[in-house]
Structures are given as C-alpha cells and as structure tokens.
C-alpha cells in the first residue's frame, strides 16, 4: 500500500509534464495558423485600405489644387483682357477705372475689391474701390518690383497699406510709351472659402501656404506651432519635385505640437510658389481602419484566451484520463500476475498431489499389514517385530507428508510482494528442490551451480519465486518427452547478478523468439497455457530494474538469462549449503524469511 502511494506521488510530475506538453501542442497547433492568418490578412487589409484612403485624399487635393490654380489663371486672364481691351491711356482717367471696377464687381461679385493704375514711378494715379488709396506710393512694394521683371504678377496674400488681407494681380501695361501697372486687388476670402470647404473627419483641414510656409488662407485652427514643420516638409517637397513627388505628395510625420502622427498631402500651386496643404491626424484619417483593426485584435485576443483555456482544460482532462487508464492497466497487470501465479500453483498441485499420495498409500498399506498381523496374533513367528517395522515406516512416511505440506505452506505464505534484500542462491536452491519431484517424473535432472558470495538483490520473494518457478516449469515442459538436463546458474558480474536457466529441450523457433514475452502468446494447446507466464516474468524483472534475455537453438535447448542489479547496501550471500537435494531447515527458518 505504502509502495503504491509512493508510486502515485512519484508519477504525478509525469502526468503534469504530459498535460503540459499536450497543452503546448494544442495551443501551438491552434494559435499558429490563427496568428499567421491574422497577421497576413491584417497586413494586406491595412495596406489596401491605406492606399485607398491616400488615393482619395490625393485626388481631393489635386482637384482643389486644380480649381485654385484655374481660378487664379482665370483672374489673371480677366485682368489681362482688361489691360489689353481697355488700353493704357483710358485707364488714367479715374472715371474709366471706376466704371471698369463696377463692371467687374457686377459680374464677379465682391472678388474684385479694387482696381488701380500705378505709374512708372510707383504712384497710384487712378483708383476705384472702397478705400481712399488715390495717390498711394507703391514704389517700394514687393509686387511693384516683381511685376516690372515678370510683366504679370500674382502676389502672396498681404495686408498691404489697408491692413486687410488681400492679394494683388499686377499687370504691366504700356501707357503712352511708359511702363505702367494695372493692379487689381482680390478678396482673400474667395480662395479661403474654396479651401476651407475641404474638411474630412475631425481633424482634416486644408490651407494654402507659400514656399516660406506663410499661410495664404486661414486654417480652421491655429497652426502657428506647425510652421517650422511645414517649412521642412515643403522644402523637402521642393527637392523631390523632380521625381514627380510634386503633385500631391504624401508625408507622414509626428506633429510636435499635438504629439500625434499627422498625414500631410502637399501639392504645388501657382507654378510652385504656393502649396496646397491638406493635413489630417492619421488616427482620424484611418479611423475606420483602426477601428476594424482594434476589433480584429480584440477577437484575436479573445480567441487566444479561449484556445489557451481550452488547451489547458482539455490537456488536463486527457492527462487525467491517461492516468486513470494507467491505473486501471496497473490494476489489470496485478490481476494478471495474480492469475499467472494461480496458474503456476495449479501446475504445481498436480505434482504435489502425486507426491503426497505416495506416502499416504504406503501408510495405508502398512496399517493394513499391521491389521493382518494382529489378526494372526503377535506371538506367531516374528510378527511383533514386523509390526514395529510397519509402525516405523508409517511414522517416517508421515514425516515425509509433513515436509511436503510445509513446503507448500511456505510457498503459499510468501505472497507478500514487499521488496526486500534477498539472496538469489537461497531462492534458487529452494525452487530447485520444490520442482525436483516434478522433474524426476519428467526425467529431468536439475543441476545448480551457484557462485558463492553473490551480492544480494532487491526483490520480492514471492515474485522471484514466481519467476523461477515459471522458468523451471517451462524448461521441464520443453524437455517433455524424453527428459534432459536443467542447469540453473548464478554469478555476479560488475554490480549485477545473473541467473541463467538453461535446458536441453526442444528449443524455440526463431520466428517465435521475438514474441515469447508478448502477453497471451503461447504454443501450448488451448487450455494448457495462458501465454502469460513469460510476459509476467518480463514485467516483474523490468520492475526490479533488470532485464531478461533468451537464447535458443531448435532441438538443442534454450537458455534464459536474468540480469538483476545488485542491492547497493546489500551484503553478499553466505556460501551455499551444497546440493539441491539437501533438505532445507524446518519451518523455523522459513518464518524468518517471510518476515512475518
């Protein structure tokens, strides 16, 4: 019992390990494809979605870019038409300018704020508009310098003298041989509205800047912090423009002000002087994507947790089932061993019955003889002496019976499977004696050659008894008709004890040699052998940490060799007490061996 409990304790880590390895296998097998699929499809979906969003933004920016560009071009063309159609000299007159301005305002709404003509010296000689700017001096104004070089100039958005944001379209016209300038001021709001219309999501906004990142439109929110960043992006845009990056280039950078990742779409305007910039937080731009990704990750995590939990539970349950099955198997094995023991005992019984019957028969006959003599009378001849002789005979036959029953009892008593240190030589001698009667009738001579001082082994008496009895019985059976010689040898070699049992019997064919230790393998006729004997022996020897091997030549004989590890603390066996024929000491010694 104690031993069984010990086994259970020592095997617990084994089942835990089994459960663990099963758990890892299940988890690995289920998670690997899941994660692989999730990563792959997630990556592809992300890429595709980002491309789609970016293409959409790019298209949006390009479209507005084009409309702003064409707006500017249209205005420039209008002013040019004015300059050419109206001609220089007429423009000097204030009334002429005013009527032109009125016509423009009528047809173009409030786009055209004012109209003026500036002479070569930079003085505005005529003006039509809401501000009193007649005679203003523009000789130092940037646009005035620029238009002299380029004939047509569209300015950045400026505050100018009026303190109101506007931009100027200036055109060089020929007035009486002098280079005068026709100047139209356009309302900043016109472009602003156009650009401000672009708003996507929470953070998407668009604006126009010049090369120096000066805002040409009012962004929806304060962007002063990002000017430096924009400057960098635009500078880079300029560099890359040769590579075709110029049209709706996309840049993703971290915004130092908000600390968020921001997507910029930049596209040059007005021959590269201005830039249409669209910016949006990536989190906002890809909001739908990130939402789906989060859902995906959540599902993945949930799935992983489920799989792990299932793997844990399943593997534990499996391990427990295996454990139960193993226990059942062990129990079954024990039962099989028990059955095998009973079978060998049954085989023994046949021999024992005969052995007991002989002395009993003698006693019965002697008793009868004494009766015969008594009928005759004790006085006649030497009848009295004859009665004495008969009684002595009865007594000696009774003693013989007692020996047999003692042998049987000692055998039956050794059913305790406790492992103890024991001496194989003693046991071999005992078993050889035990089987001697059976051997005698089978014409088998049992010879034992036991090495003196063989180390003790750790084994159970009853199990070793079963092993030897089984092998000896097998050997005797193998020599059945005709008999032969049965040699039992013991020797010590390098920390091991070897026991070999060899017979001169029929041998085992090669084909069967592989299978003799298999359970239920037997060559005996049905009902004669269970086919369990050798498999039980195999199990017993294995359990003790030893092994059993067999060599056989057909018609020459078979030799089984058992190797058992010598007990570490064990002593050496006392030198043997000689031949197998010698009787063992009476039952006093026996009870000691069985250990009570």
């Amino acid at each position: 019992m104690a031993q069984a409990r010990e086994n259970a304790v020592s095997e617990a880590p084994y089942y835990q390990g089994l459960a663990k390895s099963m758990m890892f296998t299940i988890a690995l097998v289920s998670l690997a494809p899941l994660l692989g699929y999730a990563l792959l499809s997630g990556y592809q979906y992300t890429t595709a979605y980002k491309e789609k969003v970016e293409a959409h933004l790019r298209e949006l920016v390009l479209k507005h870019d084009q409309s702003v560009d064409s707006y500017l071009r249209e205005k420039v063309a209008e002013v040019q038409v004015l300059g050419e159609v109206v001609g220089g000299d007429r423009l000097k007159a204030e009334a002429e300018i005013t009527s032109l301005h009125n016509a423009l305002v009528r047809s173009h709404g409030s786009d055209f704020v004012d109209l003026g003509i500036v002479n070569a010296a930079g003085v505005q000689v005529a003006y039509a508009g809401p501000y009193p700017l007649q005679g203003a001096d523009y000789s130092n104004a940037e646009w005035f310098q620029a238009v002299k070089r380029r004939r047509v100039f569209v300015s950045d958005v400026i505050f100018g003298l009026r303190g109101v944001p506007h931009f100027i379209i200036a055109l060089l016209v020929d007035v009486g041989g002098e280079q005068w300038v026709l100047k139209a001021t356009l309302d900043f709001m016109a472009i602003n509205d156009l650009v401000e219309d672009i708003r996507i999501g929470e953070t998407g906004l668009a604006f126009i800047t010049n090369r120096a990142a000066q805002f040409q439109t009012t962004p929806r929110r304060d962007m002063t912090g990002e000017v430096k960043l924009l400057h960098n992006i635009l500078a880079r845009g300029g560099e890359d423009s040769i590579l075709g990056r110029g049209r709706a280039a996309i840049t993703v950078v971290d915004d130092p002000v908000t600390g968020r990742e921001v997507l910029f779409v930049t596209s040059p305007l007005k021959d590269g002087e201005w830039f249409m910039v669209y910016q949006q937080d990536t989190a906002d731009a890809f909001a739908a994507l990130y939402r789906i990704r989060n859902v995906g990750v959540a599902v993945l995590l949930l799935g992983t947790v489920c799989i792990l939990a299932m793997a844990f539970l399943l593997s534990r349950r499996m391990a427990r089932k295996v454990e139960v099955a193993d226990q059942e198997k062990d129990m079954m094995n024990d039962q099989v061993v028990e059955a095998g023991k009973l079978a060998s005992v049954g085989e023994l019984a046949a021999g024992i019955a005969h052995e007991i019957n002989n002395p009993v028969a003698i006693m019965v006959e002697e008793a009868g003889w004494v009766q015969d003599l008594l009928e005759e009378g004790l006085q006649k001849d030497d009848n009295e002496r004859e009665v004495q002789r008969a009684l002595t005979q009865i007594r000696s036959q009774g003693a013989r019976c007692r020996e047999i029953t003692h042998k049987l009892l000692s055998f039956a008593r050794k059913i305790d499977p406790t492992v103890e240190r024991m001496c194989v030589n003693d046991l071999i001698r005992e078993m050889a004696q035990f089987c001697e009667q059976r051997a005698k009738y089978a014409n088998v001579r049992i010879e034992t050659s036991l090495e003196d001082g063989v180390p003790q082994v750790e084994a159970s008496q009853s199990e070793m008894q079963q092993v030897l009895l089984n092998l000896i019985n097998n050997a005797i059976d193998a020599m059945d008709p005709g008999g032969g010689e049965l040699d039992i040898m013991s020797r010590a070699e390098g920390g091991d004890v070897f026991i070999s049992i060899s017979d001169t019997g029929c041998g085992i064919p090669k084909a069967n040699l592989q299978r003799i230790f298999d359970p239920f393998f037997t060559t005996k006729p049905v009902g004669k052998g269970t086919g369990l004997g050798l498999s039980i022996i195999y199990g017993i020897i294995n359990k003790m940490g030893g092994d059993i091997s067999v060599k056989s030549v057909v018609n020459k004989g078979t030799a089984f060799t058992i190797r058992l590890p010598a007990s570490k603390e064990g002593m050496r066996c006392a030198a043997g007490n000689g031949a197998a024929g010698e009787q063992p000491p009476a039952d006093g010694g026996r009870s000691e061996e069985t250990g009570g």
Partner: protein, 136 residues
C-alpha cells in the same frame, strides 16, 4: 493350472510395493515387484504375470509406454493402472490403450484386491476361450 494369481507390482515407491506385496502374498497371490518400467518389462520375461499393477507416474519410462509395451508383448496380461488425481487424463488414455481398469491412489486395499482378482478372472476367461477355440 495353478490357482494362484500371479501379480507384478510396478511402482517407484519400493516401500509401497513391498508392503502391498506382503499383504497380497498373505492372501494367496504370487507377487513380484519392480521399481521402474524397464525392470517390470524384464521381469515379465521370466515371470508370466496374470495381472500387472502399474503406476503411471514413474521416473524413466512412464506408465503409458510400459502399458503399451506390455500389451504388445503380452496381449492377454491384464494391466490395472494406479494414478494420482491429477493424472486422470493419463488414466483415460490408459483405458484406451487396453488397461483393465484404473485405481486412484491412495487406494483402499480391499478394492485393489478385488480389482486384481477381477482382472485375473478375466484373463483366465480369455485364456480359456482361446484354448477352447484352439481345441474346437
């Protein structure tokens, strides 16, 4: 013809054959003993037994072979087999080989004695028949 039944006891237990023989002699039988099958067969060469009481389990030549041999050489000689419990099958096999009957050890003396007498009677009957046929 001599009335005394000639009996051969074959058993490896010499103590048993000696005592049993003594008792049977006292009851008027002529008894010889042998301690193994081979000895029994050689004894039969000089001692024409009416009945052989044969133990089936002996070292050396076993009972059935001896029975077979006896029936071959002396078909008229009746054989009564002595068996242990465990060798019932052997006893039945013996009957098939032509044994008169079998007895189980330990056997009651009276039973054995009557069985031997029966066997002897049958043997003599057979002999008489053969004699009669020869004359007729």
């Amino acid at each position: 013809m001599s009335d005394s039944i000639r009996l051969l006891l074959v058993d490896d237990e010499t103590d048993f054959t000696a005592t049993l023989g003594r008792r049977l002699v006292r009851r008027g039988l002529t008894v010889e003993t042998a301690d193994c099958g081979e000895a029994g067969l050689s004894k039969l060469e000089t001692f024409p037994a009416d009945v052989v009481l044969l133990d089936v389990r002996m070292p050396g030549m076993d009972g059935l072979s001896v029975l077979h041999r006896i029936k071959e050489l002396y078909p008229l000689t009746e054989v009564v087999m002595l068996t242990g419990h465990a060798s019932m099958e052997v006893a039945i096999r013996g009957m098939e080989l032509g044994a008169f009957d079998y007895l189980m050890k330990p056997v009651a003396f009276e039973e054995l004695f009557y069985k031997v007498e029966d066997a002897a009677a049958r043997k003599r009957l057979q002999e008489g028949r053969i004699e009669g046929r020869r004359r007729g």
